[in-house]
């Protein structure tokens, strides 16, 4: 594997919904590059194609054209390169959502351990990995708690731990700080940067949040289905 190909690379990605006169080009020409250990922002107004891009990257909808490489592996090149998109999502992509969407009937540890278990790892090993991640994210003291017993910030940290559970090369974060106040939002960004650095994970953060935009070193703007790269302020995180 060529290190230069690690992280996320998107070239000429297009997505068209429908056909004929009613066709809509949600993505027209998307080009992105995120290196391992890097956290980049994806910013754009509503209807610009952010969610469509995230869904293409998350292998839940199929692009119409272009090329996507995740962690050195080309997953799409005019067609999916694997039949098992479920395993691709499980093993190579971590998801962090706007709301944490933790499974309410599993405790914190098992919410995190579920992914390695789904990948076929033994329960004990999966739980050990979950506890390590919870310690790294400073929520190990809530390991046996139910999601409903956690604060919003704690829930989001658990969802980050879940995204990292299978050590994916890529994490897609969909407005992870939207429901949080400034302090907690910056705290989540600090954690994402730490985790990216620690686990060499490429992270794309889709956001509208003015509080965190200045923290990115690089930002991709998306307008009318096209991406434009811009250098960010890279403001230091508390």
């Amino acid at each position: 594997m060529n290190m230069a190909d690690d992280g996320i690379r998107i070239e000429g990605l297009r997505k068209r919904y429908g056909s004929g006169d009613t066709a809509v080009d949600a993505l027209k020409d998307v080009n992105m590059r995120v290196a391992p250990g890097e956290v980049v922002g994806l910013v754009g107004p509503s209807g610009s194609g952010k969610s469509t891009l995230l869904k293409c990257l998350g292998a839940v909808i199929e692009p119409s054209a272009g090329r996507m490489t995740l962690g050195g592996e080309t997953i799409y090149d005019g067609a999916w390169k694997t039949r098992d998109l479920r395993a691709l999502r499980r093993d190579r992509i971590g998801f962090v959502f706007q709301a944490p969407y933790l499974i309410p009937f599993l405790d914190v540890t098992d919410n995190v351990a579920l992914l390695p278990m789904l990948a076929g790892r033994p329960n004990a090993e999966s739980r050990k990995r979950a506890v390590e991640l919870l310690e790294a994210l400073d929520v190990a003291h809530r390991a046996r708690a139910q999601p409903s017993q956690l604060s919003g910030g704690e829930q989001q940290r658990v969802s980050i731990a879940r995204a990292l559970a299978n050590q994916p090369p890529v994490i897609l974060a969909d407005e992870p700080t939207a429901p949080l106040d400034s302090e907690r939002a910056l705290g989540v960004m600090r954690i994402l940067n730490q985790m990216a650095n620690q686990y060499r994970t490429a992270i794309i953060v889709v956001t509208h949040d003015e509080k965190i935009i200045p923290t990115f070193k690089r930002i991709y703007h998306i307008r009318d289905g096209r991406t434009y790269e811009e250098a960010g302020e890279g403001r230091a995180l508390p």
């Binding site: 999502r89 599993l106 579920l114 329960n123």
Partner: protein, 401 residues
């Protein structure tokens, strides 16, 4: 791997418990309905077993004495005793009627089947749980405990008072009414004796008939009037077969030479189970079908509603790589879990409330097993609607707008 279904049930245990209890009561009713049918069949078999007979000899061209009225002369048994293969033959009468508890002035009416028997002969209750068998010719009775009569208690049957001298158990008619045994003569009176007014009228009518009241034939009128007030009919003759003889062969001889109908044990069971309680069985069968459909609808609705409440979680589970079969398995296991809770509650409820039913209700292990399998199948089928909804959830719904 974690049991998602088990964790969800534990997490929402109160909802599962209350739903399971509701479903369980419905299952309890279903099991009891099946038990009512089994009780009817068992009552019919008990009736045959307790009679101690191998053959039932009844009026020709009838299905008597239980399914149809049957009347034959009370001296028929003598002729039957002369047939090869007949060890014992005894007259018997059956009449379902109200018997008043505690004599004429007080007490409630009890629905019983009054059986006229010959002491020591087929038809007599095989065992007593208290007291003794009938020894006097008149006005003694042996009652099934289900009548509620006590030993030594006075009861009124038509215009005579009887004393309960013995108690027996599981002696019931095919309809489940407890039996009350009296002497054959009393049984005949109960069934055939006219009231005093009717007898007086009949005597006057006969005396006014010059063909029957002939001055030149003294004693004719008295003989005719005596024959009008006494009755020599019974409903059936119970026959015990001598060792080494086939009941069907003896029955064939009776049908051929005595111009009577004779039924073997198997034939009588067929009459009772397949003819007498057939309509009731169909009625119960319809209830079982309706209750099964209602149970299925309830389970389907509950599981479907619970699944709809977890759509976002299901989308997340699918997005992070959970197999469709794991999600389907989770819903199926929850449906089966609900069925298991419901069945356990239903079985316990049915066991507790069955003894207070007025008629015999028999819960058999076989029916319990069948019920369990049926509940599990119904729950599995009912979960398909929710599974279909869950499998249609697009994992993309977990991402963005």
């Amino acid at each position: 791997m974690i049991s998602l279904a088990g964790r969800d049930i534990l997490h929402s245990w109160a909802r599962f418990a209350f739903t399971g209890i509701g479903l369980g009561l419905l299952i309890g009713v279903t099991l009891s309905m099946a038990g009512v049918y089994r009780g009817m069949v068992d009552d019919a078999k008990a009736l045959l077993d307790n009679s101690g007979a191998d053959l039932w000899v009844v009026q020709k061209d009838t299905l008597g004495p239980y399914a149809e009225p049957s009347s034959l002369r009370d001296d028929s048994y003598r002729a039957l005793l002369g047939l090869p293969g007949v060890a014992d033959a005894a007259n018997i009468t059956y009449l379902s009627m109200q018997v008043r508890q505690g004599g004429v002035e007080k007490g409630a009416d009890v629905r019983t089947m009054v059986v006229g028997i010959s002491p020591g002969q087929p038809g007599e209750p095989g065992y007593l749980i208290a007291g003794r068998q009938i020894t006097r010719g008149h006005y003694e009775a042996v009652a099934d405990v289900k009548t509620g009569f006590a030993l030594g208690e006075a009861i009124r049957i038509r215009r005579h008072d009887y004393t309960v001298v013995g108690l027996t158990r599981r002696m019931v008619s095919s309809g489940g009414d407890p039996m009350l045994f009296v002497s054959l003569k009393d049984g005949q009176d109960v069934q055939f004796l006219k009231d005093n007014e009717a007898i007086l009228n009949e005597r006057q009518r006969t005396a006014a008939n010059s063909a029957l009241n002939r001055p030149g034939v003294p004693g004719l009128l008295d003989a005719i009037q005596a024959s009008q007030t006494s009755n020599h009919n019974v409903n059936a003759v119970l026959v015990r077969i001598a060792q080494g003889h086939e009941p069907e062969a003896v029955a064939r001889e009776i049908r051929r030479w005595k111009h009577l109908q004779a039924y073997t044990r198997a034939q009588m069971e067929e009459i009772l189970v397949s003819k007498l309680i057939l309509t009731s069985a169909k009625q119960i069968g319809m209830f079982l079908v309706i209750l099964s459909i209602v149970s299925a609808a309830i389970v389907a609705f509950i599981i479907y509603t619970m699944t709809l409440g977890k759509i976002r979680e299901i989308a997340v589970l699918k997005l992070i790589g959970t197999r469709n079969r794991s999600i389907a398995g989770m819903i199926l296991q929850q449906a089966l879990g609900l069925g298991l809770i419901g069945f356990s509650v239903g079985k316990i409820a049915a066991t507790l409330w069955v003894p207070i039913f007025p008629k015999y209700v028999l819960l058999t292990p076989e029916d319990t097993l069948r019920g369990f399998v049926a509940v599990m199948l119904i729950c599995a089928l009912a979960s398909t609607l929710a599974i279909r909804a869950a499998l249609r959830v697009d994992p993309a719904t977990a991402i963005g707008g």
